[in-house]
Symmetry: C2
Subunit: 253 residues, 2 copies
């Protein structure tokens, strides 16, 4: 069979890029019903709080994830390029970094900083999905660790849409959106570098398939976080014992 025979052949750089880009429309979390509700203005303030508080846990491990990747690279040039990501999220000590800006977003939803940064009320399901990202970059090949960052290929369109819809439907959140402004330029830059690395360093068809698989796995990790949030805060509506519960409120804000 042709399909099986072809499975052994090395993809051209353009074919590999096309396979990687094709993952977005099918698996990226822009299609998740929680995001749909957000973009339609159908989430309550409490649900937005739950999203900001839980997603903070993801934001908080990103520089750790990138430091693991740094720690696995033997190439100073690669490390110089990759360390930018850590600075983007942790800040340069003068302006706020991405994590601080995410806290500002959470505060704009009405949450206290300490309640967010303590991470005490994070849903177990979100915690496990995020930790799976640390496992991936620690335990799979270096190529897969880099390839897993390629969800940034898909993030710009989602951010543009999200910022527009958040401004429209939740105007009280507008002063908390600085995180997304920065990501609009950071994410595509980072994705370009990582894509070029993956295309050059996936030297066999097996390695190419590993890279594609790592990007799929990363999409699962993002999707599963929203599943846990939807399950706990939209429907059926039961946060695990001990997890964040929004204060009672009257319908959508």
């Amino acid at each position: 069979m042709t399909a099986v025979a072809n499975e052994k052949e090395l993809l051209t750089p353009a074919e590999l890029e096309s396979r990687l880009r094709a993952i977005g429309p099918e698996y990226y979390h822009h299609r998740h019903p929680f995001h749909m509700l957000m973009h339609e203005g159908k989430l309550t303030r409490g649900q937005l709080q739950a999203w900001a508080l839980n997603r903070y846990y993801y934001q908080s491990i990103i520089p750790m994830k990138d430091a693991i990747i740094l720690s696995r690279s033997t190439d100073p040039e690669f490390r110089r390029a990759w360390r930018k990501r850590i600075i983007d999220h942790d800040g340069d000590g003068v302006g706020p970094g991405g994590i601080e800006k995410w806290i500002q977003l959470a505060q704009a939803t009405g949450l206290d900083r300490e309640r967010v940064t303590s991470e005490r009320e994070v849903l177990p399901g979100v915690r496990y999905a995020v930790n799976a990202y640390l496992d991936l970059v620690s335990q799979r090949t270096f190529l897969e660790a880099v390839a897993s960052s390629l969800t940034e290929l898909f993030s710009r369109d989602l951010i543009v849409l999200r910022v527009d819809r958040l401004r429209r439907h939740y105007p009280w959140l507008t002063h908390g959106l600085a995180y997304f402004d920065a990501r609009l330029t950071q994410a595509p830059e980072d994705a370009r570098f990582a894509l070029a690395f993956v295309v050059v360093h996936a030297r066999t068809r097996a390695e190419q398939e590993l890279a594609i698989g790592a990007l799929r796995t990363k999409c699962d990790i993002l999707w599963a976080q929203l599943d846990a949030i939807y399950f706990a805060y939209v429907e059926p509506g039961w946060p695990a014992p001990g997890a964040f519960r929004p204060a009672a409120e009257g319908g959508a804000v």
Copy 2:
């Protein structure tokens, strides 16, 4: 404040045991609505398949979990006692072990062996929760690794109830229940040994609290698996892309 002052005091063995046992009624997954539906006979055959297939992933890592604990023990006497668990699950090469019996349960729901053992269709949320158990026993203290097994203190009552209700509501499953028969004696034996170990080796109040926390964390791990299964197969009803989907069927079996 008395409560704060008391937090520094060592618990007596009886107090520690009582704190550990008190976790069950509040956090153990016998209270999870998926189990409620099972015990009321309200799950369809497809939902029972989804449970058996996903929970197989948990069953399949138990001997790996116990081997990690073995690998961290420097005490031959401890290791001799603990290795029983691996034999219980993997079998002695003559009779079937727990994993094989779980496969028989899954087959009794109507699934092919290969579909189950390939683990291809396991929900991401179940996968992450189960992997969090491996992380716990690898990365936390040895005391916490042992204490996390203490959910077996609570399992006997759940198994007795479950077997009774499965026989009553799903008589076509009756020939697949051998797994639970074995666990009725294995789990309490194992729990007695682990409880005695924890009570003796938690030598400070801080260590006692770590042991209690590890048992809470393990309850989260069990609970989160059922959240993922409920979310995907009961309500709202969307398995992640690529995860197991039951064949169409007409209502409860």
